[in-house]
Symmetry: C2
Amino acid sequence: MNASDAPSNSAPVGIGLLGLGIVGSAVTSSILSAEGQRRGLRLCAALVRDRARKRGVEIPEGTLSTDPETVLGSPDVDIVVELMGGEEPAMEYITRALSAGKHVVTANKEVISKHGEKLRNLAAENNVSLQYEASVGGGIPIINPLLNDLAANQILGLRAIINGTTNYILTQMASGGASFDDALADAQGLGFAEADPTADVDAFDAVYKISILARLAFGVDVPVEKIFREGIRRTESQDFRYAEELGYTIKLLAAARREDGGLLVRVHPALVPSDVPMAKVEGVLNVVEAEGDLVGPLWLQGRGAGAEPTASAVMGDVLRTVSIIRGGGHVPEARPIDPDLPLLDMASHECKYYIRLTVRDRPGVLAQIAGALGDMDISIASVLQMDSDPERGNADLVIMTHPAREANMQRAVERIDSLGDVDTISNLIRVESYPSDR
Amino acid sequence: MNASDAPSNSAPVGIGLLGLGIVGSAVTSSILSAEGQRRGLRLCAALVRDRARKRGVEIPEGTLSTDPETVLGSPDVDIVVELMGGEEPAMEYITRALSAGKHVVTANKEVISKHGEKLRNLAAENNVSLQYEASVGGGIPIINPLLNDLAANQILGLRAIINGTTNYILTQMASGGASFDDALADAQGLGFAEADPTADVDAFDAVYKISILARLAFGVDVPVEKIFREGIRRTESQDFRYAEELGYTIKLLAAARREDGGLLVRVHPALVPSDVPMAKVEGVLNVVEAEGDLVGPLWLQGRGAGAEPTASAVMGDVLRTVSIIRGGGHVPEARPIDPDLPLLDMASHECKYYIRLTVRDRPGVLAQIAGALGDMDISIASVLQMDSDPERGNADLVIMTHPAREANMQRAVERIDSLGDVDTISNLIRVESYPSDR
């Protein structure tokens, strides 16, 4: 439907669903509720894989179909709500919907992250809206605040916990001493993690999300392959124990920040001081911390996943689209691309580091390691000798450094790894910086 | 300007300011910035009291005037930005602007709280928008999330710290042991409190704000005089000392919640458990905690006052209005009034209470007090005998009760006050309930 033939305020608005899993069922409940009916929402068609499958909501007769054309080709469908996930065929269907002059609401972070610019342009050409509040942070309003409320700010930085699965796993490891494998199995049992957990634990999901936020906050199109990405598989239970002794916990952070000369976007596990609020965001909660030149620091926290929080965001977008349809086609614009803000390489990042290594327990080892670090201009802030294993003649060392550049640290790590008295560098975790004045 | 004669995307949008204090100066800077110019903003006129006064920003020649007609009567002004504060003449000017078909952006909580419904209707009749994100929570996006992002939720409750001045004073009293008078003088010296602090310390400001939020969250028009209001003047430094011993701190809370039979809206100081996040919102920070049936709990925190955070919200509204003007007039609608949600009286509220009294230090006093409470079905959870003054034969008692109804507690307090061995009931503070399951 085009702005030019907008229906009147009382005319029903037709909705077509692509996908009817747990989020789709919650969205359907909301469309069919008394409030949804009062708003004039009408569920016209829903694309499913299996029409016979039981669902948590009663679907009107004749609505389910396995043919996408019932949604994409129906003149009754004004808004297409895409909840299939994954890149294809979701991307193809969204493209067809926008090209056919239908408004689109999607929760698909992968599609928006990889093809957002193309789809936003296609929506603008067809004078329809494309909304994706549910693609980041579940029910937390963050896309629209960045698009609208914070539009007058120069955003200085974003820092977020935006993957509920990994935050649940890390919380279990921190509080219960669980191993990574046990915590993952636990998350899978509770439905917080997929059978194939790669997207979450290897941080692809968080990378998609921070790229979407960075585009809106900074006006920079960030290809996902340009984002520094490290997942949580190397994190072991003793890292939590040692981190706690040092006054930290471990979180998977996604961050984007203006630095000298450009924008650095990174996703990796980080040591976070135990006494900052970020350390206390537990379980499947998400948070986005934004800093604007006018607004200062903002903290937006809520449930980052789950059927109902995601449905809250999807339905917010649907109702906004209904307003747009009835009001005559106002579509909020994203910031224009900023040509003066290049993406920086992680090599230029500077932070303190936590290094856990297993070494031969004999004199001179530390001197060799300190030498390798010192050669790269990295100085040691503290060394803890933790669990030692007299039988094998080994000991665990935990080294905390003063701030160092990533490029230097990577070269130092190579050097240390080649030392004869060093068995393994078990983990290298970046320490997140929290200036006391913020 | 009406939707029917919307300018093209490149046409400038004229802005008229009513008031040019510190917020107005920050807004002016943003309008005159490169980004403001790129967006096509043009500052046409600014109403001031004193044209000669020095301001922190350079104002274009011929813009300042002491005659409101230069703003309200100018055909060049598309958006009137009202930053005068206070009920009159702001209300008159906003009314005239809307009636003349001009869009309005305002930061005026008193006007929106008292006359919001009338002004929203007037805006709708004239097919213009009325926006007031800056009226609550400074730069925190809260009005628009309630209007848009959370529109599909039934909101179950709101709980907030929405007055920066009192939160600064209470934080000073909690951390430094300052007296109320000293903390107030400190806040005044730093510009966080007015010379006449009544609006803040007697909680009128928080009442205006929670009434605005309650209207949007629950679809209930809440007259400010129907809101239970208690300020922070009775709170003394020993209350913080005793509260801390009991595991609490003291905050001025504004809350609105669906309860059996209706909506209870209240603003008062409360004992908040030291280990909940609300206890750690310090200084001039604000927070709004919202709970929706779909989204679950949300936590939105940021700077609640100050020139730049307020300008962030005002400019967000201005840019949204520019989109509306250029897109052809989409104005988001507030929830309709819910006729089935009556306002409840504070008498029905139930909570634990902290009672601080000075009594004659002799046997039998506690039995009399316990009896007066017991007669009203209130049982005591703990009693602490704090500072005693042997010379005067007095002692301070702090009583924590089990949950009780406000009506019963008020009658019990009357009875206790009339006991011969009770000198003074120095303070009665409600204990905020934080169910462990939320």
